[in-house]
């Protein structure tokens, strides 16, 4: 039996009269890439917000490596081993690429050297250099993040989420707004990352999902519509109906 990193059971939340997530259950296995897909308004980002504690669930449980959390707090995410990137790029504007990564890597330090002069921490510096190389941002280390291209900002967004070596990486539309070549590069990057970290991603690019994901959960109106391999869900008539329409008059 494959060991699960994330186990979601019977998760529900309503906003006013709208059921955003409706009795959702799924499991994410270690070192797999799982996609949450579905049309706009299906409740995918709400699921991420429930996992990271931004939104409180009405019912259901979330377990990370078997440990249940009633409501994880955003401040505890890193300690729980979760890294998250955002649909709208969420970097530290006005700071350099290296500084963004240094800030994100600093929690790796034992005792958090808050008041030691900058640059003394070898562990952080090494991690920043690793990330710059891994995400091909070495030449941009000293650049202000606002001066990066959209594709580079999306890469940095993931690098920031990955910096503190999470066990579970949640990527919210990592290819959002990217050109086709950039999307292909991102797919390669996600596949490379999957060697060392478990990934859950929300994505609209079904080609990328088919190429990189081991497991796909399809959502519609807050409910789980289908689940399985990319090929299996593509063949599901219910999924086809949601994506291309039922053909009803």
């Amino acid at each position: 039996m494959t060991e699960s990193v994330l186990d979601i059971r019977n998760l529900s939340v309503s906003f006013g009269g709208i059921r955003a997530v409706d009795h959702l259950s799924f499991t994410v296995s270690r070192n797999s890439v799982t996609a949450l897909i579905g049309p706009n308004g299906a409740g995918k980002t709400t699921v991420f917000n429930l996992i990271d504690g931004s939104v409180r669930a009405d019912t259901g449980t979330i377990a990370i490596e078997g440990k249940e959390f009633v409501r994880p707090r955003p401040g505890r995410l890193r300690a729980m081993g979760i890294g998250r990137s955002f649909q709208i790029t969420s970097l530290f504007s006005g700071l350099t690429v290296a500084e963004n990564l240094r800030l994100a890597s600093q929690p790796l330090e034992q005792g958090r050297h808050w008041l030691t002069p900058l640059g003394w921490s070898a562990k952080t510096r090494i991690r920043v250099e690793e990330l710059l190389a891994q995400f091909q941002l070495c030449g941009k280390a000293g650049h202000d993040v606002d001066a990066l291209s959209h594709g580079e900002q999306r890469c940095l967004e993931i690098a920031v989420a990955l910096a503190a070596r999470p066990k579970l990486l949640m990527l919210d539309e990592p290819t959002q707004g990217m050109s086709r070549p950039d999307r292909a590069a991102m797919a390669d990057l996600i596949q490379a990352l999957a060697q060392t970290v478990t990934i859950v991603l929300i994505e609209h690019d079904l080609e990328l999902v088919a190429n990189v994901c081991d497991h796909v959960v399809v959502m519609d109106r807050g409910r789980k519509l289908s689940e399985g391999s990319a090929n299996a869900v593509r063949a599901d008539p219910q999924v086809k109906a949601v994506y291309v329409g039922r053909g009803d008059p």
């Binding site: 990271d52 955003p74 401040g75 505890r76 995410l77 890193r78 300690a79 998250r84 955002f86 969420s90 970097l91 530290f92 504007s93 006005g94 700071l95 350099t96 290296a98 500084e99 963004n100 240094r102 800030l103 994100a104 600093q106 929690p107 958090r112 050297h113 808050w114 008041l115 030691t116 002069p117 900058l118 640059g119 921490s121 280390a141 000293g142 202000d144 920031v160 910096a163 503190a164």
Partner: protein, 324 residues
């Protein structure tokens, strides 16, 4: 790795070193001419630059605009005055101010710390108003008259002793004292904590997700700013021989903010320059017209419209960068 922020901090140190050199030159000229008035005025300007520095830390590094930072300046002045009246020892007074401000700073942060933007500004304004009005009505604090008769004390420095009544020596001491406050601030803001504060200013939510204790980090910045304002204020009764509730008034807080805007919030040295220039200008203009506040307002408007990065920003155009 020298990034723009490190370079900006180095530029700031150069500006402070230049100001220090100019101040020593001024002291030499004043000593040669036997002046007392301008030395006293310059000392007062230095003390108010400490208040502006504290506003600059909060505004420039955390994005919090305090409309009542004079609370801490006035509190430091009162605590120092009371301590000196009880025991005329300089270092004992400084110790009392430090400890009392630590407690007050934490208490104020517990009230204002969860506010952001205009709400923080209004709460900080409200706190200063409450305390100043309370002081205004408490008889044993001198009420509206304030506390008078603060004794002249000697400042023992090991190898020499300085009298607070000696204008030149006290000016030089105030220069070193404010320089020390600047150095402590610069050190703290150039550590991972300082960078963390800047990142929180830019994207607080992401910092929470990365596991940073946002509330605690901002508490440290707030208490640091409170201590700097209070310690600068602690020298005020030694200079003037009295303290009064108007040291905590809104007008003092706004002058500190104008000092930050005039000098430039993009660099730590900016508030020091702004406050010194503003204090000297205010004194000169007040001797010429009773409408000096109108002139101060005009200076503020000119700075906002034509000098968005302050006086420091003019020099920065040809030099290093700064915070945005």
């Amino acid at each position: 790795m020298s990034d723009p922020i490190t370079l900006s901090m180095r530029s700031s140190h150069l500006f402070v070193a230049s100001a220090l050199f100019a101040a020593l030159l001024f002291a030499l000229v004043a000593w040669t001419l036997g002046d007392r008035f301008y030395l006293r005025l310059a000392t007062e300007a230095l003390l108010f630059s400490g208040l502006s520095l504290s506003v600059g830390i909060l505004f420039g590094y955390t994005g919090l605009l305090p409309l009542g930072q004079a609370l801490f300046f006035g509190f430091g002045a009162y605590a120092s005055a009371l301590a000196l009246r009880h025991n005329p020892s300089f270092w004992a007074a400084i110790f009392v101010v430090f400890i009392a401000t630590l407690a007050l700073g934490i208490a104020c942060w517990l009230i204002a710390g969860r506010m952001r933007g205009v709400y923080f500004a209004l709460v900080s304004f409200g706190l200063a108003e409450i305390v100043s009005k309370a002081v205004y009505n408490i008889r044993w604090l001198g009420a509206s008259d304030g506390l008078r008769g603060i004794p002249i004390v000697d400042i023992p420095l090991g190898f020499l002793s300085i009298s607070t009544d000696a204008p030149l020596a006290f000016f030089l001491f105030a220069l070193v004292f404010v320089g020390f406050l600047y150095s402590v601030s610069a050190y703290v803001l150039d550590t991972p904590l300082g960078r963390g504060l800047m990142a929180m200013k830019s994207n607080e939510r992401r910092m929470r997700f990365l596991g940073y204790p946002v509330f605690a980090a901002r508490l440290v910045a707030y208490v640091l700013a409170a201590e700097i304002a209070a310690l600068a204020g602690a020298l005020y009764p030694m200079l003037r021989g009295f303290v009064s509730p108007d040291l905590m008034y809104f007008s003092v807080s706004t002058e500190a903010i104008i000092g930050v805007v005039l000098g430039g919030a993009t660099m730590l040295a900016g508030p020091l320059y702004g406050a010194v220039i503003l204090t000297v200008l205010r004194s000169i203009i007040a001797s010429l017209t009773q409408y000096h506040l109108l002139v101060t307002g005009l200076i503020f408007m000119i700075a906002v419209i034509f000098l968005p990065r302050g006086i420091i920003g003019i020099a920065q155009r040809s030099g290093g960068g700064g915070l945005d």
